[in-house]
């Protein structure tokens, strides 16, 4: 019971942190972007972003009205009642913070008002033998999520095909995903796995390099090319189209080359907690 309560409280607490503050690595990237812009329109967009971010943090209110649909990543020790605890926490957070009630039935569009529904929120489970549970939440807004794309390339299209697909996806998205964005790229696996890799790769902070040397180089090359597209902040033109690119991969079928792109708006919100077996909770970066 104590553990269930700890998870519920942690969910409320971490959602509050996530929707009212921007992680330090993203803040730094936004400030650097503002300094790099030369056009007045682009600078105004980023100055407005930074001012809004400060106001939200000072006043403890959601920095964007689209508080998204939260995606939960659970790694560690699982226990019965875990999912119910998360759902209770989310319903409470929706009321208390408040979050915008975003979850609706996909066909009737009925809105239950508490962000809960069949399959919502999405929870990714990664059980391990550790004595604790790590919970990370990513509130994902629809502006950027709606620009997600999946391509089942042929092996012959290769790395070049992957790069072209990422460039095309970001170019076509224009101002709709609230650029400057962070671009998550999932390479390989099955179709659903590629999409999951793309989303999960967005959790890695912008100042942490990729463990895989080849992917790290690809991230750098893609970021440089994407920032030559000229989409700019909010699609109004400028030098900063992306704050960074994150790549992740998995082995795939010899006949396949799936690539998924998941875009994250500048409001790259995330928060993490470690919950121990006795209910003790620790904030994690």
């Amino acid at each position: 019971m104590e553990l269930e309560r700890a998870v519920e409280d942690a969910v409320v607490d971490m959602l509050r942190e996530a929707v009212t503050t921007i992680p330090p690595d993203v803040q730094d990237a936004l400030r650097a972007a503002e300094r790099a812009e030369t056009s007045e329109v682009a600078r105004t967009q980023l100055a407005t972003v930074l001012l809004n971010m400060r106001e939200a943090e000072e006043r403890g209110i959601p920095l964007c009205q689209d508080t998204g649909v939260p995606v939960f990543f659970l790694t560690g020790r699982m226990f019965p009642g875990l999912e119910e605890s998360i759902r209770r926490g989310l319903a409470r957070a929706t009321e208390e913070i408040p979050l915008r009630p975003n979850a609706v039935h996909p066909l009737t569009r009925r809105n239950p008002g508490n962000n809960l529904g069949e399959g919502s929120p999405r929870i990714v489970y990664r059980p391990t033998d550790d004595g604790f549970l790590d919970v990370t939440v990513m509130p994902k807004g629809a502006g950027s999520e709606n620009m997600s794309a999946l391509a089942m390339l042929t092996p012959a299209q290769g790395l070049r095909g992957v790069k072209e697909f990422v460039l095309e996806t970001v170019a076509r998205a224009g101002g709709r995903p609230c650029p400057p964005t962070i671009v998550g790229v999932g390479i390989g696996g099955t179709a659903d796995q590629a999409a999951e890799l793309a989303k999960e790769s967005l959790l890695r902070p912008l100042d942490v390099p990729n463990d895989d040397e080849q992917l790290d180089a690809l991230e750098g090359e893609l970021a440089e090319a994407l920032n030559c597209l000229g989409v700019g902040p909010m699609g109004l033109g400028g030098r900063t189209t992306v704050l960074g690119v994150r790549c992740a991969m998995a082995y795939c079928h010899t006949a396949s080359l799936p690539v998924a792109v998941n875009l994250q708006c500048w409001a790259a919100r995330r928060a993490s907690r470690r919950i121990f077996a006795d209910g003790r909770t620790e904030r994690r970066q």
């Binding site: 105004t44 809004n52 939200a56 009205q65 689209d66 408040p98 502006g143 101002g175 609230c178």
Partner: protein, 196 residues
Amino acid sequence: MNLRTPLSERTVRSLRLGEEVAIDGRVHIGRDEMHIRALEMREQGKEMPFDMNGGALYHCGPIARKSGGVWEIIAAGPTTSARMNSLEPLFIREFGVRAIIGKGGMSGPTLEAMQECGCVYLAFTGGAAVLAARSIKKVERVEWLDLGMPEALWIVEARGLGPLVVAMDAHGNSLYDEVSAGVEDNLARLKGKLGR
């Protein structure tokens, strides 16, 4: 420059691409479902619970809270306007809207309706929800709350809603079209330069 609603056709036609403005006065907040219901009701000849002639329509689904019987807007940044691409040309012609506030821009048919009727698109910074909420001084009323909080029609009083950039003018020009032409050229050039 601050513009006060209702806006005249002359004012709107005088605005230039890239100009920075802010909005004072009554603003109608609505998005997907609001457009659909309003257009359905108009088709059925029903009376509208609003008058948007000369008005500003803000594409936004706010977070609002009712305390002591009064609605308060907590966060209210712009939503992606492109979702309303198929609905907006008719909406502009039917309801006489003079300014659309949103993010990301809209497509050709909307630009044509804007030129024809005298209407502009004002780009607001996506995610600027706290700044927007601060400039909304009062909720006059809310209609169609059965559509859910984000999809309802909120009629509010604003002071200094902005900074807004004139991104589509009333003469058939769009900053997004200019940017997107450049992006297409850059995309072709960058693809040619890609390493293996």
